[in-house]
């Protein structure tokens, strides 16, 4: 139902319920995988989930960071998980998602009900210090689960060479051997090729959706985007996710055509960075009072989105290999295509230099027409907070007002709601934005 309470008409997203269902089914499928003789596995959101897809259509993953975030949504449950992990001797400054996840295992409580379903194997990628070690500990907590992690730390996208690609592809080949050995299943290259194509399609399409937020007024706000981008972090290689993003794209294109806005009184545009404090997303609703919308962030755009710089300098979705006429006929080719595709991931670049990220952030600020930036100095994730202080300096130098708030994406004890709101008030004051309503 379209409403017009302010300057622009607003409308809830039609595909909302579908997104919810995909997410619900995902966790159900994981938990009930064994019931029909299927397999289940666990890994990070960035893992090459296209590869285990070659083991069959009844192989269901759970990805660790979104699961950690799901725990964090439920503050009571999260606190129990965090305390269980601390009791087991793990430090409080470790990745908050990880601590929630481990706590869930220690308590043997699945965030979606029932006991924690033990995965049959662990399939991870490694770029931040915690990634592979997360699952090293998981295996220890569960008394041994076959574990394979792929090291992807080969350098920034503009320095990719054959040696680096060979390193990753080589590990992938070894990984497929590992998968066959630990599951006893024969690997199906056709399923792999399908999954790789889905990965390219879903991540490219998500970027197309984010591009539409260059429009004034923005058709989507970041809080809504969190519920949509998450599907890519669950299983970017699945047909359901790739198809859903194409459906979403059509709907958002339609919203743009009709001038539908995420915020009724948009007059100030900002972006955020790093994961939000999951237990306190009301911070984004609070911005609405100032007619301010967060159009997204490098995090929302680039965690799963695939991007490139067009000849005219605009940041746009990356064209898929299929669109470029590249044919994928065998296992090795599929793995190479997948590797090259993922190495361009925007959120992998700052691991080598924050200044690469600053460039991207400034480009977003320009092209998405921003008035300011809100950086979450996220104590819960050293990987995505890496170099954030330098990003701040670079954005200020480029002329963008920047606000900083300290917090933790997954540990609510480290987030001060009152102080953060006060800081937002001060920031809005400096941007000259007054509240429309209290």
């Amino acid at each position: 139902m379209t409403e017009k309470t302010g300057k622009y008409p607003t409308e809830p997203l039609k595909c909302w319920d579908k997104a919810k269902k995909i997410r619900e089914d995902y966790y159900k499928d994981y938990a009930s995988a064994h019931e029909k003789g299927g397999l289940r596995w666990a890994g990070g959101a960035w893992t090459f989930d296209a590869i285990p897809a070659g083991l069959g259509d009844d192989v269901h993953p759970i990805t660790s960071e979104p699961y950690g975030a799901s725990c964090a949504f439920n503050k009571e449950f999260s606190l129990k998980c965090l305390e269980a992990t601390e009791k087991a001797g793990y430090a409080r400054d470790l990745c908050a998602y990880m601590r929630n996840y481990w706590g869930s295992i220690l308590l043997n409580q699945f965030a979606f009900g029932g006991p924690f379903p033990k995965p049959d194997f662990l399939w991870q990628d490694h770029i931040c210090c915690s990634h592979a070690k997360w699952y090293q500990v998981v295996s220890e907590l569960e008394h041994g689960i076959p574990h394979f992690s792929i090291d992807v730390s080969v350098g920034p996208e503009d320095e990719i060479d054959q040696n680096k690609i060979d390193y990753i592809v080589g590990q992938m080949h070894d990984g497929i051997e590992f998968l066959e050995k630990s599951t006893g299943r024969k690997y199906d290259d056709n399923l792999l090729i399908k999954a790789v194509k889905n990965t390219c399609r879903s991540t490219s399409t998500w970027a197309k959706v984010c591009e539409l937020n260059k429009t004034v007024p923005a058709p989507l706000d970041e809080k809504s985007m969190y519920s949509l981008y998450v599907l890519g972090t669950l299983q970017k290689s699945s047909q359901a996710v790739a198809d859903f993003y194409e459906e979403l794209l059509k709907e958002v294109q339609d919203r743009v055509k009709r001038g539908i806005s995420a915020t009724p009184n948009e007059r100030c545009r900002v972006m955020s960075d790093t994961q939000p404090p999951w237990g306190f997303l009301s911070v984004f609703r609070y911005l609405e009072k100032f007619g301010t919308v967060s159009i997204g962030s490098l995090y929302t755009f680039g965690l799963i989105g695939a991007w490139e710089v067009a000849p005219d300098g605009e940041w746009v979705h990356r064209k898929t290999p299929m669109e470029k006429g590249v044919s994928i006929n065998d296992r090795d080719k599929a793995l190479r295509v997948l590797t090259e595709w993922e190495l361009h991931k925007p959120e992998w670049q700052h691991f080598y230099s924050p200044h690469l990220k600053s460039e991207m952030m400034i480009r977003i600020a320009k092209q998405w027409k921003l008035n300011g930036v809100m950086l979450h100095y996220n104590r819960g994730c050293e990987g995505l907070s890496l170099g954030i202080a330098e990003n701040r300096l670079a954005l200020l130098k480029a002329g963008y007002p920047v606000m900083v708030f300290e917090g933790n994406m997954g540990d609510e004890r480290e987030f001060d709601m009152v102080r953060t709101m006060s800081r937002i008030d001060s920031f809005m004051e400096t941007l000259g934005m007054k509240k429309d309503f209290d």
């Binding site: 100095y377 007002p401 920047v402 480290e414 008030d425 001060s426 400096t430």
Partner: protein, 260 residues
């Protein structure tokens, strides 16, 4: 035309009455305690009494401070950052950087000639508040808070102390006391540690002259000296430093009444 500013600080409530947006008629403060409403009423009445005015004479009240949302009498509010900038530039027009160290929070901001805030930073988790830390250090050394500054200025030795974590620093002080370092040297180490934390914060935002200091801790001459040394620039302490926030709020109230 009388406006009022109420600074609902973490520890103390400050009230300033302002005439025609330019002349301060009264200043009063009261310890917040658990009954902040009662404390605010007391402070407000004390200010009215000082100025020889009645409540009805006050046209517009603006609040600021941590508790500004619950300030009695206030029609609207302005953030502490905005109030500090406005108040500081009023008192000292050449102000371009304000360092405000209160009981629980320290902040720094840069502003323009009109008192508009350009950028700001507030002390974060790893730089626990200066005012209350000073108090607990004074207790550990068994001296009165006002004596801590003068004591440190008599020191002749620099002892490095952890400038990062207030908890670590506190246990370091215990160690120093047991190691029989003089109270003067320990007091100086405490000042250096706090000044280091505040300086870190100031460097984040950068500073431009004139740099001014407001808030309760500004009344500590040793702290001021250390900040001057750290920043290698003149640091001015504004008169009645703990009232600058409330003054800023009173000025904003006058702005909102259309007073130029």
């Amino acid at each position: 035309m009388i406006t009022a500013g109420i600074d609902m600080g973490a520890k103390n409530i400050k009230v300033v009455l302002l005439e025609d947006g330019r002349k301060v008629r009264a200043r009063a403060q009261e310890l917040g305690g658990t009954d902040t409403r009662g404390a605010t009423e007391k402070a407000f009445n004390a200010a009215l009494f000082q100025a020889g005015l009645k409540m009805a004479d006050v046209l517009h009240v603006t609040s600021t401070g941590a508790g500004r949302a619950n300030a009695p009498y206030a029609r609207d509010s302005v953030t502490e950052v905005g109030a500090a900038a406005r108040g500081a530039v009023f008192v000292h027009p050449a102000t371009r950087t304000v360092i405000d160290i209160g009981a629980e929070e320290g902040k720094t901001l840069r502003c323009d000639a009109a008192g508009k805030v350009i950028d700001f930073a507030v002390n974060e988790k790893c730089a626990a508040g200066a005012g209350s830390f000073m108090e607990s250090m004074a207790r550990a050394l068994e001296v009165k808070l006002e004596q801590l500054g003068p004591l440190s200025m008599k020191s002749t030795n620099t002892i490095p102390m952890n400038a990062q974590c207030a908890v670590f620093a506190e246990s370091e002080v215990v160690t120093l006391v047991h190691q029989k370092h003089s109270k003067e040297d320990i007091a100086k180490a405490v000042h250096d540690a706090i000044a280091d934390r505040i300086t870190s914060m100031v460097r984040k935002v950068g500073f431009e002259n004139d740099v001014v200091l407001i808030g309760g801790v500004a009344k500590n001459p040793a702290f001021v000296e250390t900040m001057k040394r750290n920043l290698q620039t003149e640091v001015k302490v504004l008169d009645e430093p703990e009232y600058v926030g409330a003054l800023g709020a009173a000025l904003v109230a006058a702005d909102n009444e259309g007073v130029k």
